[in-house]
Amino acid sequence: MATIAITRPAGAAPPAIRRATGESPAVRRVLTGLALAFLGLTLVLPLVLVLHEALAKGFAAYLAAIREPDALSAARLTLLIAGVAVPVNLVFGVAAAWCIAKFEFRGKSLLITLIDLPFAVSPVISGMIFVLLFGAHGWFGAWLADHDVRIVFAVPGMVLATTFVTSPLIARELIPLMQEQGSDQEEAAIVLGARGWQTFWRVTLPNIKWGLLYGLILCNARAMGEFGAVSVVSGHIRGETNTLPLHVEILYNEYSFAASFAVASLLTLLALVTLALKTAVEWQQRRQALEGAETSVPTERIAA
């Protein structure tokens, strides 16, 4: 294609080409301005508002709101739920990515679709299915009532719903990454006498660590921030079955706006940290890809 430019008169070609493959400065400025205005209105303004409202009644009130016993117990429950959901989905994600990326078998694309399935389910329905299973009128409801086990409207149900909602996140992160890396290195290790676990720890893990880390971060953020699914299976009992997002809702509905935004600011901080780590991980991935010239650049993935 470059030869076309060379055949043109030397003086006239570059500006013509530049105008052809780019927009005029005025158009650029208008488009950039529009995009910035849109992002400012939809993304930046809500962020600024959360911080502003959180501090609306001063720093002392802010501290009081996040140190209040109900807020602390909500924070503890949020950590507990994420502490169960994330490791469980880590095991599932690694297992799923291993069999899908390293082996050929029938029904693979169906399996990938099934892994994605929870993404397509409304959070409300994700909570509802556990009420249908374990609620008073559910499949196992009578048995659970006889044995005095509470799952729904209690902590176990909230853990289950969160695990369901966040189950695809780590698998989705690892599958494309491991598919792209192929299995030549692992096969070499096995042929040279390494055992299965050794191969995973020494060969696979170093290759996927950044993708895995990002999957973990995203899974954790979603587990801590889940609202709809958890809301359906929560008993909404203050200090017992409230997570941080549910606590935000309760405070907001009680018109304790400053306190509500104060707790919300903690979750906002979590989101910002997640975004920062994500950006750092992407840089690392790019660097790793540039260093190992034979391994191709990881494709941009959609974190849904």
Binding site: R8, F105, L114, L132, L218, L267, A271
Partner: protein, 275 residues
């Protein structure tokens, strides 16, 4: 495509076993209960539930607002992706990272922030109030929340495709006498169209199920600003499990059809790239 009948790698049985057991117990069995539960209703009962005026109104609100939001996101998401890929300006990297905010921010936080922003005395609402535009507690507010939620889907689907577009093709079009606008509509847009359509479908699919960010700003008036997920919750709270599952079945069928469409779109796009 690799053709491998037998691999030397270990762990196939174990990893496939874990994956299938987990999916069956954690995902498929729970989802199946929705369909078995709704099967307890006879067909006329099911039909009269999902066609009752309040349910139909909520379908109209959810699908209408989701469609509007996905359309707005297609236009502005494309613009944002274009500007991020093609132009260089201060703060570009920060904005690029910010696009994922709706993925990371808990939906309840987004909900209360947007509601406060667009309320009649809010930072944005107070400028719209004199113009007679009400956003919070109206259909418009639902759309605003769904625009927030859906934006990254369009940007993150279109962006890599724009990144991979070869400038030479546009140069060729220009050297053959095409104007910039012609090059854009005849060369750039057709190559990006599959990705844009996928992004639109992803944003739409996410929007129809969305609950947390919408429920605060919606006003939740039956027949007018009640979304389907909220109606399901209302029915559950009234112990109308049959009604809730009937509505959920309709939603699940819609979502799964969308998922299937998106998969087909992505497969078609990949085939175009490989060809």
């Amino acid at each position: 495509m690799r053709h491998k009948s037998r691999s030397v790698l270990p762990g196939f049985g174990v990893s496939l076993g874990i994956t299938c057991t987990y999916l069956s117990l954690m995902v498929l069995l729970p989802l199946a209960t929705v369909f078995t539960r709704s099967a307890e209703l006879s067909w006329p009962e099911f039909w009269s539930t999902v066609t009752s005026p309040r349910v139909v109104a909520s379908f109209r609100v959810t699908f209408g607002a989701s469609l509007a939001a996905a359309l707005v996101n297609s236009v502005f998401g494309f613009l944002v992706a274009w500007v991020l890929v093609r132009y260089r300006f201060a703060g570009r990297r920060v904005l690029d990272a910010m696009v994922d905010l709706p993925f990371a921010l808990p939906t309840a936080v987004a909900g209360i922030a947007l509601t406060t922003l667009y309320a009649a005395n809010g930072w944005v609402g107070k400028y719209l109030q004199p113009l007679g535009i009400k956003v919070s507690y109206t259909w418009l507010g639902i759309t605003v929340a769904l625009i927030f939620i859906g934006l990254p889907f369009v940007v993150r689907t279109v962006q890599p495709v724009l990144d991979d577009l070869e400038l030479e093709v546009e140069e060729a079009a220009a050297s053959l006498g095409a104007r910039r606008w012609q090059t854009f509509t005849r060369v750039v847009l057709p190559s990006v169209a599959p990705a844009l359509l996928t992004g639109f479908a992803l944003a739409f699919a996410r929007a129809i199920g969305e609950y947390g960010s919408v429920v605060f700003i919606a006003g939740n008036m039956p027949m007018r600003t009640e979304i389907v997920p909220l109606l399901i919750i209302t029915k559950l709270e009234q112990y109308d499990y049959a009604g809730a599952t009937a509505v959920a079945v309709v939603m699940l069928v819609a979502s799964f059809s969308l998922l299937l469409t998106i998969n087909l779109l992505q497969r078609a796009a990949r085939r175009r790239v490989e060809a």
